[in-house]
């Protein structure tokens, strides 16, 4: 039976799609049969981040309405075996996604895949609720910033009350925290919320910290999930997070400021 994982945050622009793309790619690299579904109907973007935008023929709404078979809509990734993408529709009809339709798709995907990642839209409207409804696990993406932390707390409340697991009073959705755009230098200067403070406030297990990194924009420019950039800090941090998710014990990296040189420390100069 496949595990359904929702990547969610409440707030927009914090890195849900970047994280979904990286995580799905990482799971597939680890040999897991993985499919990532874009739930952002009307504002499809996972296809761009995954670099498959020119191969979209059918989308999730076509499958729900019966215009296409699931296998026709799934896009097989050309870089990593065992990775597929199910794009969102660009329709403006918000009611195109239905709970029954999504249930059928997830049921069918469960036969073939180990992991089904659901890339949630921002907000707590229908699309976001549907993305999290079937989840067994949730990856909550948070920026070290007040509005993002608050919205993450809100979405945790929604997970605990509105998911299928909550409704059926089964074991709760397993929650994981990913902090993105973390800048240890600004944290040291007291300009950014500390990792420990975010952990204390949200009180869910930490899966990974992705440092603020130029490589994330470069990756989205070219349509390559940043996890494929093994040189970049962000790529390595995502790799660590995937390994932790699969049960490996890895220390958190990139959470302390880079070591400053002796002279720079002596004279109080700014870290490079």
């Amino acid at each position: 039976m496949a595990q359904v994982i929702v990547v969610t945050s409440g707030k927009g622009g914090v890195g849900k799609t970047t994280s979904s793309a990286a995580f799905a790619t990482g799971l597939a690299q680890a040999g897991k049969k993985t499919v990532v579904i874009d739930f952002d109907v009307g504002l499809r973007n996972l296809d761009l981040i995954m670099g498959v935008e020119r191969r979209v023929v059918f989308d999730i709404v076509n499958v729900i309405t019966g215009e296409a078979k699931l296998n026709q809509a799934l896009i097989r990734d050309k870089r990593v075996d065992s990775l597929s993408i199910l794009p969102a529709s660009q329709t403006r009809d918000k009611d195109a996604l239905t709970k029954e339709g999504v249930a059928t798709i997830i049921e069918e995907l469960s036969q073939e895949f180990d992991y089904i990642l659901c890339d949630s839209p921002a907000g707590i409207e229908k699309g976001a609720l549907l993305a999290l409804y079937f989840a067994d696990q949730a990856i909550v993406v948070t920026n070290p910033e007040v509005s993002s932390v608050r919205d993450s707390d809100r979405i945790l409340g929604v997970l605990q009350s509105k998911s299928k697991r909550a409704e059926e009073k089964r074991d709760p959705v397993k929650e994981h925290l990913i902090v993105t755009r973390y800048d240890p230098n600004r944290v040291e200067k007291g300009e950014m919320l500390k990792l420990d403070d975010i952990r204390e406030i949200l009180a869910i297990p930490l899966l990974g910290v992705i440092p603020e990194s130029e490589s994330v924009l470069k990756a989205s420019n070219t349509g390559n999930p940043v996890i494929l950039d093994g040189v970049s800090n962000a790529g390595q941090a995502y790799k660590d997070a995937v390994a932790r998710f699969l049960g490996e014990d890895r220390p958190h990296r990139f959470i302390d400021p880079e070591k400053r040189g002796f002279l720079s420390r002596l004279f109080g100069g700014r870290a490079a």
Partner: protein
């Protein structure tokens, strides 16, 4: 802080904006979490109240209003039960709401 700061006359660092962020978040979330947990029991409370009150007086279930108002220092739970007029020949204009419902 570098050792030169001793001569620059820097003492304790001023309170940071990150500290303010943490404090504000803790306050607002404490408040939001309570009201999140609290929202759920109101409909049940209202249903049960109607059952209890209906045992003693006949009431219109729609004429029961339960509201919870949370303030910083004090919260109020207001329960308003509108009783129907004592009999049918009571003056109609005494309880216009009851007649409407």
């Amino acid at each position: 802080m570098s050792w030169l700061d001793v001569f620059r006359g820097k003492s304790k660092p001023p309170p940071t904006s990150a500290g303010a962020a943490k404090e504000r978040l803790q306050i607002v979330l404490a408040h939001e979490r309570i009201s999140r947990a609290g929202d759920d029991f109101l409909p049940r409370l209202q249903r049960e109240l109607i059952q209890v009150v209906a045992r003693y007086v006949s009431i219109d279930p729609k004429a029961v209003n339960v509201s919870l108002d949370r303030g910083g220092d004090m919260s109020t739970l207001a329960i308003e039960v509108e009783l129907p007029p004592p009999s049918k020949d009571a003056p109609a204009d005494a309880k216009p709401e009851a007649r409407a419902s």
